[in-house]
Symmetry: D2
């Protein structure tokens, strides 16, 4: 049914042609499956460094029979056909080498790395190391459409956000934007599935080290802390003071964040929930749940959705919770949502 | 090798004879296995309500061949032989019916329920309902030997603590006792394995509802919040203000707690860790780990151990983490530790 | 974005209108999600017995915001709008009450139960109990399109096959149809995820009883044994002698079957694999893999796909393996595939 | 409580002194925990190749506070104190280098590798490669005490059996020894937890590749097939024809084997079960269960126990099932059992 080198798509003639550079990452597997099914998108190139350019389905057996396209090079010159958009799924530090080449060739870029997320280069360099393409950081949109849709719409470069920050910011945005929370003492306690570690075999990613196990890691020193703070700042919070603690939980996918904030003034569950519902009433991918019906990661697994809830704690504090699928809304499906926005397609196209 | 009605033990002649009332609970399975292997303890009675008094090994197939003892009644009069100590593994509200009967018969009781944990009856009744045995609450020791060993030593009634409070209090005790943390804004974010829900089949305990899933529950309204606050008060913290959020994680066993506290004065990692090490240097079951080597639930699974760590967060806050096995140090093995203390045995006997 | 009582669909005007009778079963959750996304299908009725006709999304929180339709009755008269097809996701024995009512009303039925699968009523009654609608059994197509497409195409009643039989028959069909395997000594050893047990809370479905656990069950007496034998018979094998052993494995989804057969004459890996490839070369949902690249359940999770492989064992035996997702190709997505075939739609529409 | 370089033990004076050579393997973690708790054994040396001879507890954080002994060399000369027995937990091919050195030094050896299991050197070399110590193979006892206790009792070298063969042989032994099963067509379908892969980080051992996944592997070509056949031969079966298929299941520990055999003459469940019960009536670690109460891996997890069951299948076939913990009865605890037998200790000492 499918020849080598062909991805099954809907058979449309006028579609967005896409290239994925870094096709062997876990996030790319999700991205490929989304684009193969997307009614208005085609994959025209998969760039990845593997000896002999094997078909992607030899790396991800899930793709056998649905995407047997062969891997090609990473450079613009390696692409036989010019795509309409390039997804970079490369590691931090590597993206900033490739993004300028594709942008120079006039191609819009959606970048999965952290390289274009932090607008203050000195903050980036403190957490990630030297930045070699600071010029393009200025023009990058921070790609959470629910919060920054207008920026994304006109962007040539979209920085696809980190998984933890997506989870934290979608939860806190309504209170931050409405001026209901203070800037001080924002505690973000997040739990992630193991796929967040990527697909490089290292001791910490082994089944017997992760299964039946849960722990915090990088307490007080995870790179997503400044990204969350920046996002809250973009929503109007002055000098937000964020304490972020990530945890590894024994599951493939999902991020659950419990966030403890101080309220600007006393409020009850009803008021807080109403603020959240108001903020998201037109958003197709965000669902506000009552504080007594807590969001579960499984409720959004394999989808682009985010569920949030809020509970007042003795009046002057609140606990906001949110769940997303770290590989989907936290990476691949949010990237497709950004693509839909950039190309003027229906925002929900090919997503659920 | 083993006849019906006999539990394999070491064959000692002078041992502590124990009865378990409520033998079909999950915590009882752990307790039975611990007592069967304990070199100085014997099980002489298993009380549980099941039609026809089947052997306990028909309920827990793990016990086939190691404990095939038949279930008997719950009342003192049902016990053929007088035990030296009675473990009550009954639900909240039920324990308070049976404890007075056993105490009246002169038998020491180690109670797994919440019935004798909260010293302020009005607090108990706010969270659990009517208390019918307030008189015995006064004499109950709160059984975390590392913190209240002297109380336990002389007690006739030990309230075996809640799993979450054990995890939280072992983590926070060193800072609380040393006056290093403030009473305000104590955030306890805990994640528990599913065995914490017990072994009654209900929708929320089903495999397909728990696996690949993580969520908060009872945000702002879990019964262990006042128990944690009481424990901190017992360590000298005045009117501690605790915000406790439990989470359900997809694993059998284990509790990990991340706790965010304000420091009474600025401190760094080294000072905080030193305080913890000092507090626990003679404790066989507590290990202090560096803040960059975070405790994992698997490191203490199936053991009576607790691992803790602390990280200073920008000087005036700290994140304390701790892990225990909720069925072991959070229930059954801590009960055996309490028994060892009560009977003047080596505290580590039969435990690891 | 979505009002109460509305399921998001593509917005097409000429679509297949579907009703699901038994909407609160696990398989229905998958079916609802598939139909919501299907570009040529709409859900017009969800029948299920729950007090007060709550929205389906209150039972399956995954559906919040994508399908908030309220539950209605189970009877033809309860349907406000006449559907084009009815999916019955009712238990064995109950389907046979409802199917005749819908068929009488002129509506095609796709039935998830075993009630119309076994053509020999006496065999059905031996394994499942009294059959009250034997008349309709005769006209039922056995809905594995890859094997019985023509039957399905013209059917008014499709018996959606059991999950284990789908897995076994897709694996064995090529050898059986080509006359390469003997009828004697067919051993089918299958391992299923826990969702195969359905969503009724019972002790055997609890997380702590299934996690970190694996066992055989119903050895020599599982109802799918005669269904597998019947299927092999339909492919030309005379009096096939099937020994079927199901196992419960600690995962949500997936069936892996290892099948040991005697070869009619000696063959090597290459010949056997070639036979399988030839049989499935035009099938969009079946992938044949080399015997040294064994199919994994995760490769087909959440998809309508089946991966199969074959290895010759010392010349006169073979081990055939196959994997499917028990809720998808083993239930809901195969039902949608059957619907596509029945209504002359592209067979892959809304599936992947 | 515990100084660096000391393992907590019972404090006995006359104990078996043990050395573990290859201490960083997963099986060694179990072995260390067993020996630390064993009332009549002490660990005097842990040999392992790690830069700087770190404490074993830095490799296995579970051991913090219970065994903080530092790693030393692998050679006899590296041992400060002469042990009474040496456990070799080295890979296949490496053990045969070290075993002769320890044997020459007069020290009994319990070897975890395959190097001394297969008595026919040509079979070994076909499956594992060149053997450099064939002389010692002859004197090696095959260490399943339940089957070959006398051999083990007098041995200087014990080949600790493979995990799969232990599971298969304990299941089949009663029928084989009683002449009830045929030599032809013995199908062994086994499912193992991931710890069976060891603790080297490779792609196939990663959490996201194993979780929610199940597959066969090495169909028709796994090295344990000849070991199972040899074991059946040792029990009197002539030229047993074994077809062995291993599977990887998403759990840490446990092996479940379903074995399909032809009966020498027709038999029913009762006769077969009786034969099994008779065979194991004096064995403390083996439990025979009724065929309708199938053994589950969790029932024996973290123990030295094996549960078995048998069901007759239409008279002339049977399905035998067995479960063990692959790291315990399949490796470490069986090794301790062998040690107990070799040193004339009570066979159950330190085990459960």
């Amino acid at each position: 049914m499918t020849g080598i080198g062909v991805c099954l798509t809907g058979g449309n003639t006028t579609v967005v042609k896409t290239a994925i550079i870094g096709a062997t990452a876990y996030t790319s597997l999700d991205l490929i499956e989304l684009l193969v099914r997307h009614p208005e998108a085609d994959i025209t190139h998969l760039g990845g460094r593997r000896e002999g350019n094997p078909p992607i389905s030899s790396i991800f057996p899930r793709l056998r029979g649905t995407c047997d396209m062969e891997l090609g090079g990473l450079e613009p010159a390696d692409l036989a056909e010019e795509p309409d958009v390039v997804f970079l799924t490369l590691p931090h530090g590597v993206s900033q080498e490739y993004a300028p080449r594709y942008l120079k060739a006039g191609l819009p870029v959606i970048d999965f790395s952290a390289d274009y997320r932090l607008r203050d280069i000195s903050v980036y360099e403190e957490w990630y190391g030297k930045h070699n393409d600071p010029g393009n950081v200025k023009q990058a949109a921070y790609g959470i459409p629910e919060l920054f849709r207008d920026e994304v719409r006109g962007a040539k470069l979209v920085a696809n956000p980190g998984c933890y920050p997506t989870s934290a910011l979608l939860g806190l945005a309504p209170l931050a934007a409405a001026g209901l929370m203070e800037s001080a003492d924002i505690i973000v306690d997040s739990k992630s599935g193991v796929s967040g570690r990527g697909n490089k075999p290292d001791p910490g990613s082994m089944y017997c080290e992760c299964n039946e196990n849960l722990s915090a890691y990088k307490v007080g020193c995870h790179r997503h802390e400044p990204e969350i703070a920046q996002g809250l700042g973009m929503m109007g919070l002055e000098s937000p003071d964020v304490f972020f603690t990530p945890h590894l939980a024994p599951m493939d996918r999902g991020i659950q964040s419990s966030m403890y904030v101080k309220l600007a003034e006393k409020a009850d569950d009803e008021e807080l929930e109403k603020t959240m519902r108001h903020r998201y009433e037109d958003e197709p991918f965000v669902t506000v749940r009552p504080g007594d019906d807590q969001p579960r990661t499984k409720d959004v697994a394999f989808s682009n959705r985010c569920h949030v809830a809020v509970k007042a704690l003795r009046g002057d504090r609140a606990c906001v919770t949110s769940v997303i699928d770290n590989l989907a809304k936290g990476a691949a499906s949010q990237a497709v949502q950004n693509m839909n926005v950039m190309f003027g397609l229906s925002e929900t196209l090919g997503l659920h």
